[in-house]
């Protein structure tokens, strides 16, 4: 029984994937609405099941492990999954390949679970690949659009390249340590040239997945080319889960090299924040804009990661939760606007508040959250990251973070200005609203306002992160 409880995320997900197969065999997916609603209900149940009580432990000679923090991370991912499924309802309704979409998305999530629970570097690598490859197929979903195929190819090539680099790093690590289980790496890792090189290559691999500068070049193109639902998935689930794993890798696996990685992480953090914000300044495409904004956000996450202690990991997990809600809300609104105007340009947001106050308010809350403006949760998320970063006393890093707070505020206020201040010559008609999207947006809204004030949330995360 214990083993079932411990593997319940994976078991439920496998059952879901199987159920999709059965549905397709029975021709269940011909009734579009019924199929999509059933999926949403199933994902809701999946999310609820994640909160069942659970013991800690590890299986298969430590290849698989689980604890409170990992369960919470999986729950956050599940929440994102549910919200993305809800926000992409309108798009899936018209798409021919909705079944495949769910199949690929759930397979990717399966990889994420494996990656989060891994206790061995091979397992970690396996999970990482499993979560990436389905996304490449997903980003190719607008089959008639060349940009979409381009996005798919770019994603698969860059991810293959980064995997190669990471594998090289892993082999160097194996050479240095002689065993790839987390426990023995932690025990036997000593700072020397070989392990430093191993760390550098593994960092580069992760940097690709998290789109950290200078490994970010694929991000904007892939985000722009993919369907909005997939972009959403990429920016939230795929990025969030790699950040979670990166925490473990840095703090426990390479904890012995802290002196070395502090410098490296600080440099890429400064680069990511600055480059992301500077490139976002002049973007007119909403998806490219959010791509660069997400690069900058990861830079802020890295500021928090430098703390290498409870506050570091708690603030990162807390921030990812907030970032997930903000980005999903923003992409939800973008998809609604893009659906009715047919344009993904930020210009089409002009005068949105007059025609569609609901969407404009949600978008504003999401953007304020990303910018870190109170009383929205992003303020706390971002400032806790900075608080964590100050712990290591890296003044230069903090200085750059301060400058970037200003830069990013400009970026987000630009969109707010379009929505609230500017007039639109071509008046936007009230956009379509479906119940699913509205529900998802309300959940995001409530979350973004409440997370800062419902104190037990942070305390819970903090209690899980004490090690």
């Amino acid at each position: 029984m214990d083993i079932v409880l411990m593997f319940r995320f994976e078991i439920i997900l496998a059952a879901l994937i199987l159920a999709i197969f059965i549905m397709s065999l029975r021709g269940f997916d011909t009734n579009v609405k019924c199929f999509l609603n059933t999926m949403n209900v199933l994902l809701l149940l999946n999310f609820i099941a994640g909160w069942l009580p659970l013991s800690e432990g590890s299986y298969f000679s430590d290849f698989f492990r689980t604890n409170g923090l990992i369960v919470l991370q999986k729950n956050i991912i599940n929440l994102g999954l549910l919200l993305i499924s809800l926000t992409s309802y309108a798009w899936l309704e018209q798409s021919k390949y909705r079944l495949e979409f769910y199949l690929l998305m759930l397979s990717s999530i399966f990889g994420v679970y494996v990656m989060l629970s891994s206790g061995h570097i091979l397992m970690l690598y396996l999970g990482l690949e499993m979560s990436t490859i389905p996304i490449a197929a997903m980003s190719n979903f607008n089959l008639k659009e060349q940009r979409s195929s381009e996005a798919g190819i770019k994603l698969i090539l860059s991810s293959a390249f980064s995997t190669g680099i990471m594998l090289f790093g892993i082999s160097l690590l194996y050479g240095a340590v002689g065993n790839l289980s987390f426990a023995s790496v932690i025990a036997n890792l000593h700072p020397n040239v070989l392990t430093l090189f191993a760390f550098a290559f593994i960092l580069a691999g992760f940097a690709f997945k998290m789109s950290i500068v200078p490994f970010h070049l694929w991000t904007a193109d892939v985000y722009e080319g993919s369907p909005i639902a997939v972009t959403n998935f990429l920016s939230v689930i795929s990025k969030g889960s790699v950040i979670f794993v990166f925490l473990t890798v840095l703090y426990s696996l390479f904890g012995g090299l802290k002196e070395a990685w502090l410098l490296g992480i600080s440099i890429v953090s400064i680069l990511s924040m600055t480059v992301g914000n500077l490139f976002a300044l002049r973007q007119q495409n909403a998806k490219r804009f959010l791509a660069f904004s997400s690069i900058a956000q990861v830079g802020f996450v890295l500021v928090g990661i430098t703390a290498a202690s409870t506050i570091g990991s708690a603030s990162v997990v807390y921030f990812v939760l907030i970032y997930l809600l903000s980005n999903i809300a923003a992409f939800g609104v973008i998809s609604a606007v893009a659906d009715s105007t047919g344009s993904e340009s930020l210009q089409s947001f002009k005068g949105l508040y007059k025609s569609n106050p609901f969407y404009a308010l949600i978008m504003a809350v999401a953007l304020f959250s990303l910018a870190g403006v109170p009383p929205i949760a992003g303020f706390f998320g971002k400032l806790f990251l900075l608080t964590a970063g100050m712990k290591s006393g890296l003044y230069v890093l903090l200085g750059f973070a301060g400058v970037n707070l200003v830069l990013s505020l400009y970026n987000y206020l630009r969109v707010v200005k379009y929505m609230f201040i500017d007039d639109n010559e071509a008046h936007l008609a009230p956009l379509n609203r479906n119940r699913q999207l509205t529900t998802a947006l309300y959940i995001c809204l409530i979350g973004l306002i409440a997370i800062g004030f419902v104190t037990p949330i942070y305390q819970y995360i903090d209690s899980l992160c004490r090690f």
Binding site: I311, P375, T387, V403, L405, L409, L413, I421, Q459
Partner: protein, 497 residues
């Protein structure tokens, strides 16, 4: 529920009420009644505070309360007040009531307007009562978005540019402040955000130097300290009347309060060593602001630049570190808050009718609209420091306090600051002469009606404030006396008085 939290609860309830209300009329009355209740609450709390003090309470800050917020990070919602925060709260409550009355006739997106105004006032109340630096910072930041939207949506002129400039410069200031308070959190050995706790720590002088400059500059941006004053003229002149009143009357005082309460009070050694930097910037701001005002034709720009000059007195008083100077700085904050609100209100009333703010295009306003004209003259006279009004008392106190510092440097700064009064008289009298006296030049102006009931009540309320401070400054000084003493006692060694 303790009594100080009520100061936050009422604006929140009022704001929610506004969101629920359907008719514009209901929105206006909800906002007005909420803010009037708030004003009486503020007066009540002050009376209670005075009675506690008279009963022999000697704590540094009274009415303390604390709630858990982010306990693992030592963030508690802690509130307490002393005389200085109380006078700021009273001033805020007055300006809010007046601001709402003045915006009575706003026609565009009424609900949103009053909601943002209340959010803005909430941030000021929260800032003045919190004793936890993180919470203080939260409230400081809370004002950024309402300011941006108020200017951007309801403003006039180059509103996009001004709103963005203001938001970004204030964000820059907040970033400095935040890094500064993080420094206080980690490097003072205190591991707490509570400033009363930090005040007890012995902070190494090297740390103090860095943090003092960071914090004073950061808060200084909010006070439009030279050379970070450029947001103020653009922002004030583009903003709608009520927002200008709030910006100049309240928001700039958040910065001054922070300079005093956080930068100077917590880091006394660095303040003694490095306050000369800010004496220089303040002197420049005073002189430069005054001369820049002389060159303006637009009444709002005029008042905005004169605010830069007047807030220079606040910085000067704080940086001089003597008891009289600090007292004067606090008085100047309150006095300028009320006076400038009245000034902007009367300019707004004129603009609403004439649709121009160019001093030379106006004329004969007193004849046509005696009430508005008089309000303008009263605020002008207060601004130039005529005895009987609050401006005289507070500026005089700053000068006396500054003169107590001996040494050529301090004397020169004081003399420069005093000299600016002459310039002030020039521009104020010129503005009054052009716009208010004289005959009506434009036939259109003959149709103007005098102030409405709401405008009248706003002006009367603010004038009362000016007169109370101007005629009975002892009430005011009595209220803040113990607190300025305790702040200044930290510098006694160097300053000598």
């Amino acid at each position: 529920m303790d009594i100080l939290s009520l100061l936050l609860v009422f604006p929140v309830i009022t704001a929610l009420g506004i969101l629920v209300a359907k008719k514009d009329k209901v929105v206006r009355w909800t906002a007005l009644s909420g803010s009037i209740v708030q004003l009486f609450l503020a007066i009540g709390i002050t009376a209670y505070y005075v009675s506690l003090r008279n009963a022999g309470e000697t704590g540094q800050m009274l009415l303390e309360s604390s709630y858990e917020w982010f306990a693992p990070l030592q963030i508690y919602f802690s509130a307490a007040v002393d005389g200085i925060s109380l006078v700021m709260i009273l001033m805020t409550a007055m300006v809010v009531v007046a601001g709402i009355l003045v915006s009575w006739k706003i026609g565009k997106q009424v609900k949103e307007f009053f909601f943002l105004i209340l959010l803005l006032s909430l941030s000021a109340y929260g800032f003045f009562i919190s004793t936890n630096l993180f919470v203080m910072f939260f409230f400081l930041e809370l004002a950024v978005i309402p300011k941006y939207l108020l200017i951007g949506v309801w403003g006039s002129g180059r509103k996009d540019y001004s709103a963005m400039k203001l938001a970004l410069m204030l964000m820059f200031g907040s970033a400095l402040v935040f890094i500064g308070i993080l420094g206080l959190f980690y490097f003072t050995g205190a591991q707490t955000w509570d400033f009363q706790e930090i005040a007890k720590m012995h902070i190494p002088i090297e740390t103090q130097r860095i943090l003092y400059v960071l914090l004073f500059t950061g808060f200084g941006v909010f006070t439009a300290m030279f050379p970070f004053h450029t947001w103020a003229p653009d922002g004030h002149s583009s903003a709608p009347t009520a927002a200008s009143m709030f910006l100049a009357g309240i928001s700039m005082k958040l910065g001054g309060y922070g300079c005093l309460r956080v930068a100077t009070y917590l880091l006394p050694d660095a303040a003694q060593e490095l306050s000369w930097i800010f004496i220089i910037t303040a002197s420049i701001a005073i002189i430069y602001g005054a001369f820049a005002t002389m060159m303006q034709k637009d009444l709002k720009y005029m008042n905005a630049y004169s605010s830069v000059s007047h807030c220079g007195f606040v910085i000067l008083g704080i940086a001089m570190l003597t008891k009289a100077a600090v007292t004067g700085a606090v008085m100047q904050m309150v006095s300028h808050g009320i006076m400038t609100a009245l000034f902007f209100a009367s300019i707004g009333m004129i603009y609403d009718r004439a649709h121009t703010r160019q001093a030379d295009e106006l004329g004969g306003m007193l004849k046509q609209m005696p009430f508005i004209g008089s309000a303008f003259i009263i605020s002008g006279l207060c601004s130039l420091g005529l005895p009987g009004f609050s401006g005289f008392v507070s500026e005089m106190t700053v000068f006396v306090g500054s003169w107590e510092r001996t040494g050529v440097f301090y004397r020169v700064a004081t003399i420069l600051a005093c000299a600016s009064i002459v310039v002030t008289a020039v521009y104020i009298l010129r503005a009054v002469g052009f716009a208010i006296w004289g005959t009506v030049t434009n036939k259109e102006y003959l149709k103007f009606k005098d102030a409405t009931w709401s405008e009248r009540s706003a002006a009367v309320l603010l004038t009362l404030g000016i007169l109370i401070i101007g005629l009975a400054p002892f009430l005011f000084i009595h209220l803040i006396d113990a607190d300025t003493t305790s702040i200044v006692s930290r510098f006694i060694a160097v300053v000598g008085k």
